[in-house]
Structure formats: C-alpha cells, structure tokens
Symmetry: C2
Subunit: 220 residues, 2 copies
C-alpha cells in the first residue's frame, strides 16, 4: 500500500520505518526540517521518500496522522482533500503542557479529526502504543501486545487491522469511532505506566478472553 505519514516525529518515524520494512511505500511529510525528512526516507530504504503533505496524501491509500495535536488543523489543511481515504489517527489531543487531554468525555480527538477531514474514513489506532515500543519491536515484550482500534467504516477498519497485524500486534476491535473517548484516556494511562510507574517505557497491553489456550508460564 502507499502510506502517507503526516507528522514525522517520534511516532511518525517509528511507524514509517515499520511500514516500509514490511513492504509498503511510505511518504514522510510535515517537519520543520526538510533535511530530516530526507534522512528519514533514506534510512527507511528504497520504498520511502520525503514529500509535502499534499504530495504525500495525493496518491496514498492510507494516511497516518501523527502530528502534535495543535498542528492537526494546519496539517489537514495542507494535505488537501482526503475524501475516500483511510485516515489512521494516532494522535492524542494533549494540552500544550503535554500532561492532560485537551478534550474528552463527550467528544474525542478522533471525532474532531473526522469532522475536519471531510469524507475520510477515520480509524483511531496506535495512540495507545508508546513510540518506544514501536522502535524496540514487540519482541521486547513477553507476549504479543494488543493494538486497540475503533472507527465507523468497516473497510477502513479492516485495512487498519491488517496493518496492525503486519507490525506484530494483535488488532483489538473497540467498536465505533466514539470509542476514541475511551482510547484517548487509555493512552494517558499507558503513559502513566510507561513513564511514571516503571523503569522502561515499552509498555504493552493484552486483552484476555476465556476459551483460548492458557499460555504456559516459562519456569523460573
């Protein structure tokens, strides 16, 4: 697939690398430093390039939104029409001080993104996954972690679930896009566990259900 990364910081670069490494064509965009985009593209191999948001988005099948919350309106304006495209929203709507959600409870960042990106099929995903875990790889964890996703368009969710699986995570369908009202606070909880309650930020989640085989514990 052709994947446009809007926002090439910690999350965008980690996701871009991974998507390129499993064979997707990746375009990095939206950095203050165009040279950084070039370096990023180079380090991701021959299937990656640097582009403007509009260039990246134009021929992309999937748009991956990873900018800081305050840049969402600007990057979506720059990207132009995203009608009919799958838009994976990985953002968390943080306040400028970065320690609380700017919106929540009766709305969510994802719902605001969906209103701004008219006609795009928005799926919330990867917002609960620390960039450090993406960089380190899921194999640093003792078991396969989940990646929660939610959205209103069945096809867009299916595409997202496939991408999630390709990156080594177990896709967990969390229902409609309004479930982002739960997934964005969950990202804050993961942040608390990753940065305040443990020594390493590579924290993963797993959803347990009855009826699967009990994973045997390794002996000490």
């Amino acid at each position: 697939m052709r994947i446009a990364i809007l926002g090439s910081g910690n999350m965008g670069s980690a996701l871009g690398h991974l998507f390129a490494s499993v064979g997707h064509v990746v375009a990095y965009s939206f950095s203050r430093d165009p040279k950084k985009l070039e370096r990023l593209a180079k380090s991701s191999g021959p299937r990656a390039r640097a582009a403007s948001p509009a260039d990246a988005a134009r021929d992309a099948d999937v748009i991956v939104l990873t900018v800081l919350w305050q840049h969402v309106p600007r990057v979506l304006r720059s990207a132009g029409s995203l009608r009919g495209k799958v838009l994976i929203d990985c953002t968390n709507p943080l306040t400028p001080s970065d320690d609380a959600l700017a919106v929540g409870h009766r709305t969510s960042g994802a719902e605001i993104v969906a209103r701004r990106a008219r006609g795009a099929h928005v799926v919330k995903a990867f917002n609960t996954t620390p960039a450090e875990l993406l960089r380190a790889g899921v194999n640093v964890l003792p078991e396969q972690p989940a990646a929660c996703y939610c959205g209103d368009d069945v096809r867009a969710k299916r595409v997202t679930a496939r991408l999630i699986r390709q990156l080594g995570f177990e896709p967990v369908n969390c229902g409609a896009l309004t479930s982002a009202r739960y997934l964005e606070p969950l990202a804050m909880l993961v942040g608390e566990l990753a940065y305040n309650q443990g020594r390493r930020p590579e924290v993963g989640l797993r959803v347990l259900r009855p009826g699967r085989c009990r994973a045997r514990r390794a002996r000490r």
Copy 2:
C-alpha cells in the same frame, strides 16, 4: 480484615463472596431487599453477615463501594463517618441510561467520592473488572489478569494491592487518584469489549513490560 460492602448487587455480591472465601470478615449492606442481604450472607459462609451501611462501616477496616452511581450520595450519608478508613471505590459514574459516563475528563467519580467521604483514603479499583469475571474466577482466562488501582494514600493502596492479589489478579499501580479519569473510561472500553465485541463478558486485561520471561504459548 473486616470488610464492609456498600451495595450488594452484581459487583458487591461477587466481591463479598470472594473476600469471604479467602478468609475476610464481610458485612453486606444496602439493598432494597433485606432478605437478599441475609441470603447473600448465608451463601458466603460463617464469616459473612447482613448489616445496615452504618453498622457495616463502623468496625470495618475496608469499605468497598459498589452501589449504582446515583446512590453514592445516599449510601455515603447512611454509612456515617469513614474518616481514616480505606475506601475502595469500584463504581463507574454512569448516566441513568447506563451507556455513558456522567462525569469525566477533568474530574472522575473517584474524586467526587473522595470529596464526599471526608477523611477516607479512597482507592479506585475493580471498576474495570466485569462482575462476570469475578464470579467465574480468573482461571477462566488463559493468563492472570491485571486489576488496575490508583489513589493518593500509600497505605490504602498497599492494602488494596494485597486484596487484589488475594483474589487472583495482578495489582497494577496506576498512580494518583486523578488516574481514575483514565480508569473510568477504561471500564467503558472493557464494557464495549465484554458486551459488544465478543461472545463472553469475562474480559481481562494484562499489562506487558519488557524483561519478564516470555510466556510460552501452548501448542495447538
């Protein structure tokens, strides 16, 4: 320990049974039907009794709050002073229609409970655990599930973590009581996974961190 259950519905009765089964002295309270409390106490064995909220709370070490959100003010008034006691808040602040949180984002049910129960050491816990999982027991799941808890009092959190462990869950410290702003939306997410996205409601969560042994998967 002497444990007062305020609210003897699905959650209260499941928790009371479990606490009695591991040796605690349990008092069930707050039901429209006093006979139900008697039956509950009987079925939980010789260490359980039925009581009024004030009676139950008076000599309890730990108060377990499991009433419906709209009954919180009334049950806390009935219970009398809870100063110095450990109060485990298992509630979720649902709207009367039961499908959304009545409060969130910049506050939480737990913070409201803490303001009402003056002097009590409030810990949020078990609100993300379906009552069905408590009734079925953690062994229906393929691995040990986590029980997230948060609070501002170190001793109260330690007591809660010990109780969590006794019930077979792995206690996961989620920081200060303000983290209830994340744990209450997480309960809604678990509800979505338990009742809308799967066939059985006994859903558990697990927090994965690097550096533990990889649990071997059972062969198919």
